[in-house]
């Protein structure tokens, strides 16, 4: 869904970042436009997950250089909750369990904090309930999950579906999916991928972070980037993912002499 003149959602320029003083990101460059789906692949330890957390503003990561523009504003100057309220969504690799807080309450407070940010009226419990029930279908989730504590006792697949449900409700401008396919059996993978596809449109963008090509069988990316040693070393189309699947990462690493 690439259109030449569509709006730039995210522009990352020579970004460097450290965790506990160890450099992880060493000059990331990436531009994502509305309507696009990007995939970042790469071996373990290449910095893929760090990149997603830095974009979301995780407090453990320190940005040491570069710039990130998101919808025309300086992303790095925003607090994590303000990034989220402006439509940046991170689907966690390991969604956290929050005992004692019901899934429904969590979703409602989250949704309303975004409404408030957009100067819209908050939805009351009844209207919100209708909205949630409408969205449950996107990930084929049972309403019983709503009354349970956030992710508590959920299976791996249920946690990931819960992430996509949150995404369906929040309707982000930029959705970053960190290893969303890990730990999913094929049926769950299809449901999750189906959800992501339903939510993708010409106004928003998706960034997939993944180890494996199999997710890309269900969500077709416009661009595939290979990340190694803290930066993107090669960019291609969908075919690049297939090539990586067949040949592994070594040939790219060698070719780029990383």
């Amino acid at each position: 869904m690439i259109t030449e003149n569509s709006d730039v959602i995210l522009s990352v320029n020579n970004l460097t970042a450290t965790v506990e003083n160890t450099p992880i990101l060493k000059g990331m460059n990436l531009e994502i436009k509305a309507g696009e789906i990007h995939a970042i692949m790469g071996p373990n330890g290449s910095g893929k997950s760090t990149f997603s957390k830095v974009l979301a503003g995780h407090p453990d990561y320190a940005v040491t250089g570069g710039a990130v523009s998101y919808l025309g504003q300086d992303l790095l100057a925003l607090e994590p909750q303000d990034r989220a309220r402006s439509g940046l969504f991170l689907a966690f690799q390991y969604p956290l369990e929050i005992p004692g807080v019901s899934n429904l309450d969590f979703l409602r407070v989250s949704y309303n904090s975004k409404r408030k940010h957009e100067a819209l009226e908050e939805l009351d419990a009844f209207d919100f309930d209708d909205l949630v029930h409408e969205k449950l279908g996107v990930v084929q989730m049972d309403a019983a999950f709503l009354s349970r504590s956030v992710n508590e006792g959920f299976s791996g697949g249920e946690k990931k579906r819960n992430e996509i449900l949150q995404m369906a409700i929040l309707e982000p401008k930029l959705a970053i999916l960190d290893e969303t396919d890990s730990g999913l059996d094929i049926d769950a993978l299809k449901i999750v991928a189906g959800g992501v596809n339903q939510l993708s449109n010409a106004q928003n963008a998706t960034l997939l972070i993944t180890h494996y090509q199999r997710l890309l069988d269900y969500i077709i990316p416009d661009y595939v980037h290979v990340m190694a040693n803290g930066r993107i070393i090669r960019t291609g189309g969908k075919d690049l993912a297939l090539e990586l699947e067949a040949r592994g990462y070594d040939w790219v690493l060698e070719a780029e002499a990383v």
Binding site: G57, E79, F92, P95, P99, G100, F106, V109, S113, Q166
Partner: protein, 478 residues
């Protein structure tokens, strides 16, 4: 942009004002003469003076306990004022006659005593320093035979009931602070629910310490006769002083056959400032006696205030099939210290008890649960379930659990579960990534953590308790 959980900053204490009112105080210090003066000022019957003197003589022989996980400089008992009352010649018959300054004070605290604004289904006894200034709905309650009045009034009007029950649950020499209270207590509430009566409304006492040098020693006695039931709530606040004030109360509950007493506390005494200067020493003895068969006593407490809290609301389960419950949330922040819990003493057959304790420690505070479950030799079929959960916020706070279990009957069943959790940075990040501020995130997690206890509070107060905890932790992350 470090968003790590750091030291805690408390929301300013909004009940810290001082009411400027002339008071009738006696000089500081304690002696038999002082006790005689207190008793004379209150025009007490002879048996009451004897009770006080007996307690005082016992107190002199007792030693201040030091086993709790709390530390404080030695208290000079000769520097405390043992009687302080707003200067009013006598207890007013109607609220219109009560000093408007006092009504205003309670109004400011959110406790409306005026006819129009008061909570429709809650009767209130308002206690200012040492004396009760007003009790609402008295006449209405009297129609059902319910007695709800200040302790002083009860001594004048129902001395036979006081004589029959006072000190039967907490004997004068029970412990150091109970003995002190028995010697010098000034006022408190008295509740009597006659046989077969279900009290038609919530009863509530609101305690306010105003005087900077005075101690507050109130005495509460609640008696539910056969088949009677009552739900009672107490609330407490105090002004902010740099000095520490002693609050040593005694609460006695008596439940006869098939009677039920539910006692809830929302304690928000001044806790001292962030460095631990000032605040109330809350050293309280609360005990309920399930004397009759099938009787039930349930304690619910939300402890958020006081520099030091030392209290163990307990149940003595004498009647067969009687039930004791203890639901507690204790929150400590900054330099607060709390050593609180319960004692469930099973004497009768098939007695049951439940303990649900939730401790939350933030800042540099120390929060300990201390509980005893004792199953006596005759308590065949007794059961206890205890659950003690601690939650830590930040890395400077401490939580301890001291469960004592003594079982002398082999048919008894005792279960104890405990957990400690920490509000983790990753959990907070998860909330913020969903657009929820850290304050809201903590409030939601705390509220979820405390739900089992809050569900036990009367409706009007459950919401209050939730807000209170959120307020206490506001600004607790940076």
């Amino acid at each position: 942009m470090s968003t790590s959980v750091q030291t805690l900053v408390n929301q300013p204490y909004k009940y810290g004002f001082i009411t400027d009112i002339e008071s009738d105080s006696i000089p500081a210090g304690l002696s038999e003469d002082v006790i005689r003066v207190i008793s004379a000022k209150k025009n007490e019957p002879e048996f009451m003076l004897e009770f006080r003197l007996k307690a005082y003589r016992q107190w002199l022989k007792l030693v201040e306990p030091n086993w709790a996980e709390v530390g404080y400089p030695a208290i000079d008992y000769q520097k405390i004022v043992y009687y302080s009352a707003p200067k009013v010649s006598e207890k007013k018959k109607s609220l219109d006659e009560v000093d408007p300054t006092l009504l205003e004070t309670f109004e400011k605290l959110g406790i409306s005593l005026s006819e129009q604004k008061r909570l429709s289904n809650v009767a209130v006894d308002a206690i200012f320093d040492s004396v009760s200034v007003a009790t609402t709905f008295k006449e209405k309650l009297a129609k059902d035979g319910v007695i709800f009045c200040s302790f002083s009034e009860a001594l004048q009007e129902h001395p036979e009931l006081i004589k029959k029950y006072l000190g039967t649950v907490v004997p004068v020499a029970d412990n150091y602070f109970a003995a002190l209270n028995s010697a010098v207590f000034s006022d408190g509430s008295f509740v009597f629910i006659p046989k077969g009566v279900k009290c038609p409304m919530e009863l509530s006492t609101y305690f306010r310490i105003n005087n900077g040098e005075s101690g507050q020693f109130e005495r509460t006695l609640i008696v539910a006769e056969e088949g009677a039931s009552v739900s009672y709530l107490e609330g407490c606040t105090a002004p902010m002083y740099d000095s520490n004030q002693l609050h040593a109360a005694v609460v006695e509950l008596v439940a006869l056959d098939n009677a039920e007493i539910k006692y809830s506390t929302v304690q928000n005494w001044y806790a001292g400032d962030a460095e631990g200067k000032g605040g109330i020493y809350n050293f309280v003895t609360k005990r309920g006696l399930c004397q009759g068969v099938n009787s039930k006593i349930s304690w619910t407490q939300v402890e958020t205030g006081s520099a030091i809290t030392w209290k163990y609301p307990s149940c003595v389960l004498v009647g067969d099939n009687s039930v004791g419950e203890f639901y507690s949330v204790a929150l400590t922040n900054n330099r607060q210290q709390a050593d609180t819990g319960t004692k469930m003493v099973h004497v009768g057959r098939n007695t049951r008890s439940t303990i649900i304790s939730k401790g939350i420690s933030a800042g540099h505070s120390e929060n300990s649960y201390r509980g005893l479950v004792k199953i006596g030799p005759k308590a065949a079929g007794a059961r206890n379930y205890s659950q003690c959960d601690s939650m830590l916020i930040g890395n400077q706070a401490g939580a301890n659990t001291f469960p004592y279990i003594q079982v002398q009957n082999s048919s008894a069943k005792v279960e104890h579960e405990a957990s400690t959790s920490k509000i983790g940075e990753d959990q907070l990040f998860y909330f913020t990534q969903r657009g929820i501020s850290m304050e809201d995130a903590i409030a939601m997690m705390i509220s979820g953590f405390c739900r089992d206890v809050f569900n036990q509070l009367p409706m009007e107060f459950a919401v209050e308790a939730d807000k209170l905890l959120a307020l206490k932790l506001e600004g607790s992350v940076g």
